[in-house]
Structures are given as C-alpha cells and as structure tokens.
Symmetry: C2
Subunit: 192 residues, 2 copies
Amino acid sequence: MTATPFPVSEIVATRRPHRKDAARNYDALLGAAREAFAEHGADASLEDIARRAGVGIGTLYRNFPTRRDLFETVYADEVNALCRAAVELADREPWEALTAWLDRFAGYMVTKRAVREALDDESGIFQACRESMYAAGGPLLQRAQRAGVARADMDFGDLLRMVAGITATAFEDAAQRDRVLAIALDGVRAGR
Amino acid sequence: MTATPFPVSEIVATRRPHRKDAARNYDALLGAAREAFAEHGADASLEDIARRAGVGIGTLYRNFPTRRDLFETVYADEVNALCRAAVELADREPWEALTAWLDRFAGYMVTKRAVREALDDESGIFQACRESMYAAGGPLLQRAQRAGVARADMDFGDLLRMVAGITATAFEDAAQRDRVLAIALDGVRAGR
DNA sequence: ACTGTAGCGGAGGCACCCCTCCGGTTCAAT
DNA sequence: ATTGAACCGGAGGGGTGCCTCCGCTACAGT
C-alpha cells in the first residue's frame, strides 16, 4: 500500500494528437480497442481494431507503435476512472463504500479478461496502475477493517483477485453473477 | 441436477487405437494437449501440440479430426477423474467432503483456462460433462445444505462458477490462492 | 517370412495477422 | 488562397496456424 493516488494516464507515453481528424481517429481507435480487448482478451487482432475504428492499419501503428502502447492506454483509462470513483465514495459507510467500489471495479473493467494477467505484470505501466489502484481502493478496505466490518486477515490484493476472477467468469446471466459475487463478499465480511 | 453420474469418456466419439504404435501416439497427443491447453487456453496451436507429442500433424488430425474432438477428450478425462473423486469422498463429514472435492476441482482442472469458456457452452459433450459433474458433485453440496453447514440460497452451478473463476486467476503463489478460496468458501458456509 | 493395411509424417495451399513503407490527402497557419 | 507539414490508407513481405493429401513405414495376422 503505497503513497498517494496519481493519474496514471500522465505516465503513459502516447498523447492525443492536436489536429482534428487525427484526434477523431485516436478516439475511435481507443473505443474500438476497448471493445476488442473486452471481447477477445489482450491479444485481439490489431487489424480488426483498425477495421472497427474505420481507420487504416497504418494509422493505428502511428498512434500506438506497439500493441502494448495501445493496451496500456486503454487500461490506464479504466484505472483512472476507478481511482476517481474511489474518491467519490469517501463519505459513504465503510462496508457500503467498499462493495460499491468493487461493483464498479467489476462492471467498469471492460478489459477484465486481460486484467487478470495484468495484475501480475511487474513491468512498467502495469505496476504504476496497480499502485494507483491500490492507493485509491486500498483505504476503502482498511477503513472497513478498522471499523470491524471486514475481516483483518486479508489484504487488498487478495480481494481484487477474488473479484477479478469471479467477474471474468462466464455466468448464465447478470443475476447469477451478482449472487455469486455477494456470496463471496459475505466471506469477506467480519463477525462470521 | 439430473439422474445418475455416468462415465463421460464413453460419450466422446474418439477411441484409443488398437495398434501399439498408434496407441502410444494417441496417449502422447492427449498428454501434450493437456499441457498445451493448460498453458495457452483452448486455442493453443494444434501444430505445437503435435510437435510436443513428437508426432506429425497428420497423426493428430487422424485421431482428432477437429480441435473440438481433442479438447473434448481431454476435458472428459478430467471430468471423469472428478466424478470418481466425488464417490470416494462419500464417507467424510458433509462440509469437509464438499471443500475437499472443490479443492480437487480447483487443482485438477488442468484445462482450467479453457473450462471457463466451456462452462457455458450449450452443445453436445459439454452438456453431458456438466450433467455428469453435477450428478457427482451436486449431492455433496445438497448434503452440506441439509446438514445446515452450507447456505441454502445457492445452487451447485453458482458454487462451481465461483470456484472456477477464482482458480482461473493468476495469484502470487499457491498460498494466496488458497487464502482467497477459503475466504470465498466462508461466504458459502451457513450460520454466520 | 510374407503381405495387406492401418497408420505415419510433413509438404503445400489457404487464411489471417504483424508491421513497414510511401504516394496521396487534409488540415491549419499564414 | 496558398502551402507545407502532419496525417492518412493500404499494399505487400514475412511469419504462423489450419487442414488436406499422398507416398512411405511398420505392425499384426497368417
């Protein structure tokens, strides 16, 4: 659990271009990439992403020289949104704040299939993202633990992996997913 | 939760050949496939599997005409082992029997990355495997529920998906995995 | 030992993906 | 309106995977 949260996007190298058409393409690519990564995981086809964005493959490579650059940018956007959400939840009750954030984590992570792998990636931006996320969400767990509503014998990493694993699974419907998630979170709750 | 458990392997179309060399190749292919699926998921390269088995690609296709045939056979083997395990656990305490089986489920699922996708596949063999597995493992949950040690507001499908999701995730080490799994199972426990 | 046949391996055609490169296009600053 | 720099698309070469096909091999039954 490190220092303070910080905007991950500023660490990512790629920048949104200034020219109007270029900026439009950049945005289209990010949107298409978000979709494709959510659908096929981190190794979705780059040519397919360019097609979805209605853009030539060359344009994709100019904006994001490597697949990693593209994935990192999408991923960093998600993490930033999560960090902002954590701040907004600061005034709720400890347990409610924690579960609300985890819900957001589960729903917001469009890249969730890939996130499972990213959670263990030691290098570069992923480490920074993880620190950012831990800095933002970790206090929510600590607060719940100090308030005695969350068990003390687990850390934030345990919790994130649990939720990430469950939400990355295919369920019959959203209701089943929520049911299972609630049951697992019952195990996190303190006082038996 | 249907009728009685039945050996899934008998449903799978492919059969082990009679000739000595052919049988050896068949086994080598299954072993290599188990490895490759565990490592790269359900879309591992078939040519790589043939290479690992020290066998020509033609031999692979003769034994398993489609990728699906191969995957189904590997998967059915795993399911059969799980079914056998369930029978052997019949004389333990309800809760212990259930968690012991789930442990086996988690550890045995060498094909775990692929199973996640397979678990909601409606077609043919997967349905049969699911029924087999539900018939074998379902009673363990029911017994625990009747004994009042497992919560009644969930079914076996919920439980399997929860465990499958968590075990498909990458953890720092086995200890963390067990810790998280135990926490989630605490949520399954009744009488909190 | 002989021999018919089940089984073998891998070359090759097709499809898809990665990434580079460059002639043509479009923006925005003057 | 002009213009040049930034940006665009996609052809194309290299790589890999899928699957078929067929000449060769080695087993098993006599």
